[in-house]
Amino acid sequence: MLIYPRNTIFIIILCMALVTYLPRLFPILLLSRRKLPPRLKIWLSYIPVAVLASLLGPVLFLADGRLTLHPAPNPYFWAALPSLAVALLTKNMFLTILIGMAGVALLRLFAGV
């Protein structure tokens, strides 16, 4: 259970809101009325792929800081396979998430975590 006073939660929410908003706001304000150099555009086109992959790399291959593919500490890697297949075949985010969560739940049930 939480050890925080109630107004601390509120302050945390406000701080989070601020540091979430600023990185979203400034590029739009600064870059919307000028043409981007072509090379910058190409560079930016790789950003989403690079960001998402960089988030996934550690999550899928590490469990408690250890590199392991054993399904007991790391069901995430194995659940990624059907999720990836569904994503590639259907391009459907909802279905992908559902299959992934079901996969993890089943692995935990049967691999005994």
Partner: protein, 227 residues
Amino acid sequence: MIAHGFYRSLPLVLGYFPIGFAFGVLAANTGLAPWECGLMSLFVYAGSSQLIAVSLLAAGAGILTITLTTFLVNLRHILMSATLAPYLGHFSRLQQALFAYQFTDEIFALYSVTFPQEKIPNKAGVFTTNLVAHGAWIGSSVLGAWAGTTLTGSPESWGLDYALPAMFIALLVLQLNNRRHIFIAFFSAALSLLLFWKTGGHWHMIIATLCSATLGLFLEKTPAESL
């Protein structure tokens, strides 16, 4: 355009639901009230940071740690919002500010496909999509928080902690347009994994992203014959 904006938001609503619900359940299990979950979803509106914040709250982390982590996790939006900025020149400053407030990974994934087709995005359509999506995010997190304490079994036994990685998988697949993208994705994942494995912290993501996009730029400049 409003109807089109609404229709366009439906995949986002469906995509948000399991993540928002998972966030609500996990937050409720950490001791947050449903209205506090709703408040966070209204003010912060960032799935990954909200989920990370909940785990930090559960671990008893301080305000500074949570704020700094949120900032680092959201730095990627600088790059994403810079990518869409050229399409928003006809928006007023206030409209740009509102658009930025409702800017998420999913919103980016959607508009990075539709804005280049539309050239000059329709404002009414854009804000309809954004408002419906934000509303769905708030609703699903409050619903999750409300259901969270009555759920049988732990959130983990339902696989709810996998909502975020699965969402990233779906978003990544939507972004893979050619072989260079696939190569850069593998490179970025491997570099990030290596950095995090060896050094920990939260910078692995930022460093891997910047290096990988730069490599992508370099590959693009190289003529195909010499590869």
